[in-house]
């Protein structure tokens, strides 16, 4: 063997190289003892009261029994598919199967907690369990790309997305803020959101957009300019109706609205969270208003907030309902100028009114017994199904630095 030839590395790679692999089954089968913020019962309120309830309502209100058979769901589900499980259970009475498509990149170190590190494919058995039970469709698929990659022209993520139909629900459940740009990437979560809106444009049925995001007054990316701009444009064009609603929402005075608004954007507070919600809603309204023939209404269905990094609430869970208008056919006589309806003043007013009723679920889950116990039970059930060690979870919750909680198991 001593005279064996030296083989170039790239040749060896082409034949033998393997991707970094998931840990052995023996390790994966053990009960999991590392927890992340989304294992806190407060997140269960979002999953069940916001995502599951609204989705159920969407199917009942605006889908025929035949269309209720499959829910086309865009998600960033994480390895345990917690959101999918909750939706599947809520939709079971309708006989709905979930056809999800989404991304779950191997987590980077910048991700909060890093609890999932090293377990990129724990979802295989979760996925099989749901599929074999008929709760998800056979073509439900999670890719290992990053969500942000869909904003890169020609990327595999964009390629795969473009081969998918429209989604009934898009759930961007971010750990970070919308302006976040992952390591080694150029595009932000917000850019990905814009791509998804484009993907949905030809869809003519109402659909839901869930956005969970860090909302930190100190971490505002360039996208906030778009949100702020959307508000300002409304103030300028429809101030008469919009300004009182906005002032009421953020507890400002009409006379000092402009400076109150500026102040709201700069300090972490409920006001900031509300103005952020209105800004994002207005941005969406503008986006859909701008699609002359494919316009849509945007309703803010609910706003939840809770603290995650600080004691002040800094997470927002927003649920938008997008209601496409009937196709707007332009008359031939329109010539080069198409007929465009005026900017959506009423919608803006409704947005502000809804944002005003923002619900702090961090507090609610402590104060409302029913809510707390259902959130705890729900989480427990989920974690148990996903093979977590419940007594370790109990300890983790009891010692939680910002949101400690005592639970029975």
């Amino acid at each position: 063997m001593s005279n064996a030839e030296v083989v170039p590395d790239d040749l060896l790679d082409a034949v033998y190289a393997e991707q970094p692999t998931a840990p052995d089954l023996a390790i994966r089968a053990e009960k999991k003892t590392k927890f992340a913020p989304w294992h806190h019962p407060v997140k269960q309120v979002v999953r069940s009261k916001q995502w599951a309830d609204l989705t159920h309502r969407l199917l009942v209100d605006s889908r025929s029994p035949d269309q209720q058979k499959t829910l086309r769901y865009f998600t960033l589900p994480g390895a345990d598919l917690l959101d999918v499980r909750v939706l599947a259970e809520a939709l079971a009475p309708l006989g709905t199967k979930i056809e999800y498509f989404g991304f779950n990149a191997a987590p980077s170190s910048s991700m909060e907690g890093g609890a999932m590190a090293g377990v990129p494919d724990a979802s295989f058995s979760a996925e099989s369990a749901l599929r074999q039970a008929g709760q998800i469709t056979n073509d439900a698929l999670v890719l290992t790309d990053r969500l942000e990659d869909i904003a890169i022209p020609g990327s595999q993520a964009a390629n795969q997305l473009s081969q998918r139909q429209h989604f009934d629900v898009i759930n961007i459940d971010g750990c970070d803020h919308l302006g976040y740009v992952p390591n080694g990437r150029q595009s932000s979560t917000f850019a990905a959101l814009e791509k998804l809106l484009g993907h949905q444009l030809l869809f003519r049925k109402p659909w839901l957009l869930f956005i969970t995001t860090r909302a930190d007054a100190k971490l505002l990316g360039p996208h906030t300019v778009k949100m702020q701009g959307a508000i300002l444009e409304n103030i300028r064009d429809h101030g008469e109706s919009f300004n009182p609603a906005l002032a009421d929402c953020i507890g400002a005075n009409i006379a000092t609205l402009q400076s109150d608004l500026n102040a709201a954007w700069s300090t972490q507070s409920d006001t900031f969270l509300k103005v952020y919600s209105v800004g994002l809603g207005k941005y969406l309204l503008h986006f859909f208003h701008g699609q002359h023939n494919l316009s849509a209404d945007v309703e803010l269905a609910s706003v939840y907030t809770y603290p995650i990094q600080q004691t002040e609430p800094d997470m927002l869970s927003l649920a938008f309902r997008i209601i496409p208008h009937p196709l707007n056919v332009q008359p031939a006589t329109a010539g080069t100028t198409s007929v465009r309806s005026p900017l959506e003043p009423e919608q803006g007013v409704k947005l502000a009114a809804r944002a005003k009723r923002m619900w702090n679920i961090g507090i609610a889950v402590n104060e409302i017994d029913d809510l707390r116990s259902s959130a705890i039970d729900g989480t427990k059930k989920l974690l148990d199904a996903a093979n977590y060690d419940l007594s370790a979870w109990q300890d983790w919750l009891a010692k939680h630095t910002t949101r400690a909680m005592q639970v029975e198991i």
């Binding site: 790679d13 390790i27 369990a129 990659d149 595999q156």
Partner: protein, 665 residues
């Protein structure tokens, strides 16, 4: 951190361990083994291409009475492959057995009955009544050709647990490098190691099997993504841009026309993957899964008026689409349009019943408008035969790959070859179940019976659909055999116009080699089948000759008064010397490509004048002469078969090259 994992290598004990609820969440290890040294090598691979492994997995789902199989690949990256079915799943007994008996299938044995993998009333059938494809017990481990490691997650209905198994295979070696490792403590050979964990659930009804390849071998990924071909194309284009070669040379390496895209540099972990060439599928995103295979066929067929008389798959599709095509051919799924026995008479088909006598003659069956082949055969065939092929007892078997529903890509379309040739396609149908009772049982090779058709049309598109395909119990590993099992008579043109399938209902699978892709020619079933097939071809060609002779005489009478040029007469004479009873082709010279395309659809051989400078540049007085010469030349070239399977462009280049010798520009 992990507790020491128990190793159990006794099949019975393993099954018991797996079924014990106390072992929830624990992991057991076992060797993947076989008592046969030859079979141990199977896990190293016996197949020619990656698609063979998928074919085996699809067959397994069929055998497990699945109604739906879904394969997901994330083409063109192929980082993972999932195979999911809704079949009966594997119990702990089945799993324990198969891991320790590679090469020893329980199917079609009494043992299979006890395990529930074989029907109670017919050993040859699945529990749901489908003819079983599996028999040898090596198909599942063909996955080893795609990945060294894979997971199986499976559950049977009524059970309170799901089994999650992770298989790690080792490359076979005869070096004796690691003899210790392969000691299994008994006389077995070890092919790998398997970890299994039971997961408990209260959902008793759930069932099905998931096979997950999360680490496809790099070389396999390269094969699937046509890497060698794309690299060639990239290099050629670069050289062309740099002026290092001229465009003539670049024709040798052509990019596939339809493909799933190309990522030249696979990104490292954590980097975004970007396509250097976006996918170009023959379907659009709005096309539903069941329409896509038809679109794929449309795409290939459409090239026959613009590119080549008989477009071929190899140059038209990338490996991925070719794989989809081949899986569609081999899987027990529906046809793109209709099963040949369910074709309806719509005026362009004649139906014949094949005789099983040696030197027999086919008889034409009345075939009423709107009637199906099946119905016509039942009403009019001697013996009022009821054809069975094409009916599934379980009620449908659908296989979906990345949003495309597999269908057999075979169409029964009529194409003209000659302007004044036969006006209808011809379908020959037969059934054969020879009584072998006279032969001693030990020589017989078992029972044999099959149904079959031979379809004649002017041209078979694509080229790869020409020949005979042997389908055993609905599945086929071999592709179309263009030699028709070495049919000897020189019927080159007619043979190229036949699509045939033999649907074997019993017998023949002992004659299949273990890769299921080739036959053992010495097996008596292969010999009987071959003789029958050759007899059927003879019946077809005889019938075809008679029909064309009638037409030829009629055409001659019609043309009697016409004067043609001398060169053309000469060319026809040469044609007849070489192609005794075939009609002289009709050659037409058109003014542009579009006209040429139309003429080709009507059965002309068309030359586009503007692509042949010697014709387009000549003075008007000369034109007629030169065009007659070009037509004569084309007739002669095709009499010798020299134009066959060349692109239209090339055919024109050849004509131009020869003419240019005589006419200086």
């Amino acid at each position: 951190m992990a507790n020491a994992v128990e190793q159990i290598d006794d099949q019975g004990k393993l099954a018991t361990w797996l079924s014990n609820p106390a072992n929830e969440g624990r992991v057991v290890r076992t060797y993947l083994k076989t008592s046969d040294r030859v079979i141990a090598r199977v896990t190293d691979g016996i197949y020619r291409q990656p698609s063979s492994a998928l074919r085996e997995l699809i067959s397994n789902a069929w055998d497990a009475d699945a109604k739906n199989v879904t394969i997901l690949t994330d083409a063109p990256r192929f980082s993972r492959i999932y195979i999911r079915d809704d079949g009966v799943g594997m119990s702990h007994d089945v799993l324990a057995r198969l891991l320790h008996n590679i090469g020893g299938s329980a199917k079609r044995h009494q043992h299979g009955r006890e395990l529930g993998v074989t029907s109670d009333w017919d050993l040859e059938k699945s529990p749901g009544g489908r003819p079983l494809i599996g028999k040898i017990g090596i198909g599942l481990f063909s996955v080893s050709q795609l990945a060294r490691r894979f997971q199986v997650i499976t559950k049977v209905a009524g059970s309170n647990h799901r089994l999650v198994a992770e298989v790690k295979l080792r490359a076979y070696s005869e070096d004796g490098d690691y003899n210790e490792e392969i000691e299994a403590g008994d006389d077995s050979y070890v092919s790998g190691i398997v970890s299994i964990t039971p997961q408990y659930t209260d959902d008793l009804d759930a069932h099905g099997t998931d096979i997950i390849l999360d680490d496809v071998k790099p070389r396999v990924r390269d094969l699937l993504r046509s890497a060698d071909r794309w690299r060639d194309v990239d290099e050629t284009e670069a050289a062309l841009d740099a002026g290092e070669i001229d465009s003539g040379a670049s024709k040798r390496v052509e990019a596939p026309i339809f493909h799933s895209g190309w990522i030249a540099m696979m990104p490292r972990q954590g980097e975004p993957a970007v396509l250097d060439r976006p996918a170009h599928f023959p379907w659009s995103n709005e096309d539903p899964p069941e329409a896509r295979m038809g679109k794929l066929m449309d795409g290939v067929e459409s090239l026959s008026s613009s590119k080549k008389e008989r477009p071929d798959l190899a140059s038209t599709l990338d490996s991925y689409l070719e794989m989809i095509w081949q899986l569609g051919l081999s899987a027990p799924v529906e046809y793109v349009d209709a099963h040949p026995f369910d074709l309806k008479q719509s005026g362009d088909l004649r139906l014949f019943w094949l005789s099983n006598e040696s030197r027999g003659r086919s008889i034409e069956l009345p075939f009423a408008s709107g009637q199906t082949v099946r119905a016509a055969v039942k009403e009019h065939s001697p013996g009022k035969i009821e054809l069975k092929e094409g009916l599934d007892p379980v009620g449908g078997f659908k296989v979906n790959i990345d949003g495309t529903e597999l269908r057999r890509p075979i169409r029964f379309k009529f194409y003209r070859t000659e302007r004044s040739g036969i006006e209808q396609a011809m379908l020959f149908v037969g059934k054969y179940a020879p009584n072998l009772a006279k032969i001693p049982a030990e020589n017989r090779g078992g029972k044999l019976s099959f149904e079959s058709y031979l379809f004649w049309t002017g041209r078979v598109i694509p080229k790869e659909n020409n020949g005979v395909l042997i389908r055993i119990r609905g599945a086929s590993g071999a592709l179309f055999d263009q030699t028709f099992f070495k049919y000897q008579v020189s019927e080159q043109t007619r043979l190229r116009q036949i699509i045939s399938e033999l649907f074997i209902q019993s017998g023949m699978d002992a004659a299949l080699n273990i890769d299921r892709e080739s036959f053992n020619y010495a097996h008596p079933h292969v010999q009987i089948m071959t003789l029958w097939l050759h007899g059927a071809i003879r019946q077809l060609t005889n019938r075809h000759k008679e029909e064309s002779a009638k037409l030829r005489n009629a055409a001659r009478r019609e043309q009697a008064g016409q004067t043609t040029s001398k060169v053309l007469d000469r060319a026809e004479l040469i044609w007849r010397q070489h192609r005794t009873n075939e009609n002289v082709p009709d050659i037409i010279i058109t003014k542009d490509e579009e006209e040429a395309g139309k003429a080709r659809e009507q059965g002309f051989i068309a030359l586009n004048r503007s692509s042949i400078p010697t014709l387009s540049s000549s003075l008007s007085a000369d034109t007629t002469v030169r065009e007659a010469q070009a037509a004569a030349l084309t007739t002669i070239l095709s009499a010798f078969g020299l134009l066959e399977d060349r692109s239209y462009e090339e055919q024109q280049q050849i004509v131009e090259a020869i003419l240019s010798v005589f006419y200086e520009q």
